[in-house]
Symmetry: C2
Subunit: 500 residues, 2 copies
C-alpha cells in the first residue's frame, strides 16, 4: 500500500470511530429528551462528558496532521472534501484542552436540567449561574481556538462555516427592511381566522405518522416520538428519529412541527452513507439542515395545494371535524407579532432570530451581562416585535439552545429560511405542475430534486456551494421576500409596495 493509501485508510478508520462516538452521543441525547427518567441526569452528564472527551481526543490526535499532509492535493472529490472538513475540525479541536471539553459537557448537562426547572417555574434566576458558566466556557473555548477572531464568529463556524458577523448584520438589516412594509400592510387588514377545535393526541399521532410517511420519511429506519422541544436525531444510516409535540387544542402547531422535523429527517435519511467514515456523509451545515426542514414546513406545508391534500386526511382521522382546505390554509398562515419563535409564522419568524442574534452578539462582546439578559430580551422584543412577554418562561427561557451552550445556532435558522425560499422558487420555476403534484399528495419529484441536489451531496462541498450548484446564482433575500409577498399578500389582500 502506498503512503497515500495508507494515510487514507488510517484516516477513514479514525474518522469512522469519531463518527460512531458521535452517533452514540446522539442516541443518548435523543433518549434524554424523550425517555430518560429524571434522576438519570447526573449519570447522563458523565456519559456525555466521557463521549465528548473520547471524540475530542481523537479529533485532536496529532497523527491527523500527518495523514492530511499525505492526502493534500488529492483530486478525488471525497478525499478532497474529507481533507478540508477534517483540517477545520482538527485545527479547532487541537487548540482546546480535554479538560475544557469535559467541563463544557458537564455544564451542558447541568444547564439543561436547570433550564427545564427555570422554565417550569418561569424563574430566570434559577438558570442564571449555569448560563453564566456556559457563556464563560464558550468564550474560553473561542479564545483558545482563535484569539485573533471575533469570538462570536468562532462559534458561528460550528454551525455554518464561513458566516461572518458583518455579513449577518447586513443580511438581517436588509431582511428587516424588506419585512416591515409587508408586516405594516398586513397589520392594517383584518386578521385571518384560526382553526380552533379539539384533537385527541393519540389520533394526532396517527395523522402525523401518515403525513411524515407520505412525504417520504422511512419508518423502517426511524421513529416519531413526543418531546418537550421537538428535534431530529440523525445517527447514521438506518436510525433517524424525529420528535414532535401534540397540543390538544392546536392541531396545526404540532403538525407543522412534525413536517419541519420530517424535513430534517429526510435530509438525514438521504445523506450519502456510502461515505461514512470520511465526514462526507454528514450534513454540510446547520443552515442547510434548516433549509430542508423549513422548505417542507413552510414552502410545501403551508401552501394551498398541500392544504388541499391534507384536509381530507384530517377528516379521515377526525371524522366530522369538517376542516376545508381554504380554512386550513388561512389558519396556517396567520401573521402575528407573537412571543414564541417556534410558533411564529413565516413572516415574523426571522424577527425572532434577529432578536437572538443581537443578544448573543452583545453577550459575546461582553456588552451585556447574563444577569441583565431578561430585561434586555423584553425591551428589545417589544421594539422588534411590538409585544413583550409576561414572564421569563415565554421570554428569555423559551428556547432550549442556550442550555446546551448552542450560542451562534440561531442565525442558521434564517440561512435555512433563505435557502428554503430559493429551493422553492427554483422548483416552482422548473416544475410546471409542482402544485398539482402536491395537491395529489405526490412528493416524489420534489424529494427526488432535494435528494439529488442537496441530501446526496452530503458534505462534499460547503453548504453555500451546494446551494449554488442546486439553484444557480440567486438572491435568497429576494426569493424569501418574493415568496412571502406572494403568499401573504394574496391571503391578506395587500399589494406589494412598488418601493420594495
Amino acid at each position: 500500500m502506498s503512503d497515500v493509501e495508507g494515510a487514507w485508510q488510517a484516516l477513514r478508520d479514525h474518522v469512522g470511530e469519531i463518527e460512531t462516538l458521535g452517533s452514540i452521543g446522539g442516541m443518548l441525547d435523543w433518549d434524554q429528551q424523550t425517555m430518560m427518567p429524571p434522576r438519570a441526569a447526573k449519570l447522563r452528564g458523565s456519559q456525555q462528558a466521557l463521549l465528548a472527551r473520547l471524540a475530542h481526543e481523537r479529533l485532536a490526535d496529532p497523527r491527523i496532521a500527518g495523514w492530511l499532509a499525505a492526502l493534500e492535493g488529492s483530486g478525488e472529490p471525497v478525499r478532497r472534501a474529507c481533507v478540508r472538513n477534517l483540517r477545520r475540525k482538527h485545527e479547532r479541536a487541537r487548540r482546546v484542552t480535554a479538560e475544557l471539553v469535559e467541563r463544557l459537557a458537564h455544564a451542558r448537562a447541568r444547564g439543561f436540567a436547570a433550564w427545564l426547572e427555570a422554565k417550569r417555574s418561569a424563574d430566570f434566576a434559577r438558570f442564571e449561574p449555569e448560563l453564566g458558566e456556559l457563556l464563560e466556557l464558550s468564550l474560553r473555548r473561542a479564545e483558545a481556538i482563535d484569539p485573533e477572531r471575533h469570538p462570536y464568529e468562532v462559534v458561528l463556524e460550528t454551525y455554518d462555516p464561513g458566516v461572518e458577523v458583518g455579513f449577518l448584520s447586513e443580511l438581517f438589516a436588509r431582511l428587516r427592511a424588506g419585512l416591515e412594509p409587508l408586516l405594516a400592510a398586513i397589520a392594517a387588514r383584518p386578521q385571518l381566522p384560526s382553526l380552533g377545535g379539539e384533537f385527541e393526541p393519540a389520533r394526532q399521532a396517527a395523522l402525523h405518522r401518515e403525513v411524515a410517511a407520505t412525504l417520504g420519511y422511512e419508518f423502517e429506519g426511524g421513529r416519531l416520538d413526543e418531546a418537550e422541544h421537538p428535534f431530529t436525531s440523525g445517527h447514521g444510516p438506518g436510525d433517524v428519529r424525529i420528535t414532535t409535540h401534540y397540543e390538544r387544542h392546536d392541531l396545526l402547531s404540532g403538525l407543522s412541527g412534525t413536517i419541519h422535523e420530517t424535513g430534517h429527517g429526510l435530509y438525514e435519511q438521504g445523506l450519502p452513507h456510502e461515505h461514512d467514515g470520511t465526514s462526507v456523509s454528514r450534513a454540510a451545515s446547520f443552515g442547510l439542515h434548516e433549509s430542508q426542514s423549513r422548505f417542507w414546513e413552510n414552502f410545501v406545508g403551508r401552501s394551498l395545494a398541500f392544504c388541499t391534500w391534507l384536509a381530507p386526511r384530517i377528516e379521515a382521522h377526525f371524522p366530522g371535524a369538517g376542516i376545508e382546505a381554504e380554512r386550513l390554509y388561512q389558519a396556517g398562515n396567520r401573521v402575528e407579532r407573537g412571543l414564541r419563535r417556534v410558533a411564529a409564522d413565516e413572516v415574523t419568524y426571522n424577527l425572532h432570530i434577529i432578536l437572538r442574534f443581537e443578544l448573543e452578539l452583545a453577550l459575546f462582546e461582553r456588552k451585556l451581562a447574563v444577569a441583565d439578559l431578561p430585561e434586555a430580551w423584553n425591551a428589545r422584543h417589544r421594539e422588534i416585535l411590538g409585544v413583550g412577554p409576561a414572564d421569563d418562561a415565554e421570554g428569555v427561557l423559551q428556547d432550549v439552545h442556550w442550555s446546551s451552550a448552542a450560542f451562534g445556532y440561531f442565525p442558521s435558522y434564517t440561512l435555512g429560511n433563505l435557502w428554503a425560499a430559493s429551493l422553492g422558487r427554483s422548483l416552482e420555476e422548473g416544475v410546471p405542475d409542482l402544485w398539482s403534484q402536491v395537491e395529489r399528495g405526490e412528493f416524489s419529484e420534489v424529494l427526488g430534486f432535494l435528494r439529488e441536489r442537496v441530501h446526496g451531496k452530503g458534505h462534499l462541498l460547503e453548504a453555500p456551494e451546494i446551494m449554488r450548484a442546486a439553484v444557480g446564482e440567486r438572491d435568497a433575500v429576494a426569493d424569501l421576500l418574493g415568496h412571502l409577498w406572494q403568499r401573504h399578500g394574496c391571503l391578506y389582500g395587500v399589494e406589494e409596495a412598488a418601493t420594495r
Copy 2:
C-alpha cells in the same frame, strides 16, 4: 499523596470510566430491545463493538496490575473488594485480544438479528451459522483466558464466579431427584383451573405500574416499557429500566414478568452507588440478581397473601373481571410440564435449566455439533419434561441468550431460585407477621431486609458470602424443595413422601 492513595485515585478514575462505558452500552442495549428501528441493527453493532473495545482496552490496561499491587493487603473493605474484583476482570481481559472482543461484539449484533428472524420463521437453519460463530468465538475466548480450565467453567465465571461444572452437575442431580416425587404426585391429581378472560394491554400497563410502585420500584429513576423478551437494564444510579410483555388473553404471564423484573430493578436501585467507580456498586453475581427477581416473582408474587392483596387491585383496573384471591392463587401456581422456560411454574422451571445446562456443556465439550442442536433439544426435552416442541420457535430458539453468546448464563437462574428460597424461608422464620404484611400490600419490611442484607452489599463480598451473611448456613436445595412441597402440596392436595 502517598503511593497507595495515588494508586487508589488512579484506579477509581479508571474503573469509573469502564463503568460509564458499560452504562452507555447498557443504554444502547435497552434501546435496541425497546425502541430501535429495524434498519439500525448494523450501526448499533458498530456502536457496541466500539464500546466493547474501549472498555476492554481499559480493563486490559497494564497499569492496573501496578495499582492493584500498591493496594494489595488493604484492610478497608471497599478497597479490598475492588482489588479482588478488578484482579479477576483484569486477568480475564488482558488475555483476550481487542480483535476477538470486537469480533464477538459484531457477532452478537448479527446473532441477535438472525435469531429474531429465525424465531419468527421457526427456522433454526437461519440462525445456525451465527450461533456456530458465536460458539467458536466463545471457545476461543475461553481458551485464551485459561487453556488449562474447562472452557464452560471459564464462561460460568462471567456470571457467577467460583461455580464449577462438578458442583452444578451434583446440584442439578439432587434437585431433579427431589422434584420428581413432587411432580409425580401432582400429575396424579386434577389440574388447577387457569384464569382465562381478556385484558386490554393499556390497562394492564396501568396495573403493572401500580404493582411495581407498590413493591418499591421508583419510577423517578426508572421506566416500564414493553419488549419482546422482558429484561432489566440497570445503568447506574437513577436509571434502572424494566420491561415486560402484555398478553391480551393471559393476565398472569405479563404480571409475573413485571414482578420478576421489578425484583431485578429493586436490586439495581438499591446498590451502594456511593461506591461507583470501585466495582463495588455493581451486582455481585447474576445468580444473586436472579435471586432477587425470583424472590419477588415466586416467593412473594405467587403467595396466597399476595393474591389477596392483588385481587382487588385487578378489580380496580378491570371492573367486573371478578377474580378472587383463591382463583388467582390457583391459576398462578398450576404445575405443568410445558415447553417455555419463561412461562414455567416454580416446580418445573429448574428442569428447563437442566436441559440447557446439559446442552451447553455438550456444545462446549464439542460432544454436540451446532447443527444437531435442535434434534438434541427436542429429544432431551421429551426425556426431562415429558413433552417436545412442535417447531424450533417454541424449542431451541425460544431463548434470547445464545444470540448474544451468553453461554453459561442459565445455571444462574437456578442459583437464583435456590437463594430466593433461602431468603424466603429465612424471612418466614424471622418475621412472624410476614404474610399479613403482604396481604395488606406492605412490602417495606421485606424490601428493607433485602436492601440491608443483599442490595446494599453490592459487590463487597462474593455472592455466596453475601448469602451466608444474610441467612446463615442453610441448605438451599432443602429450602427450595420445602417451599415447593409446602405451597404445591397444599394446593394440589398431596402429602410429602416420607422418603424424600
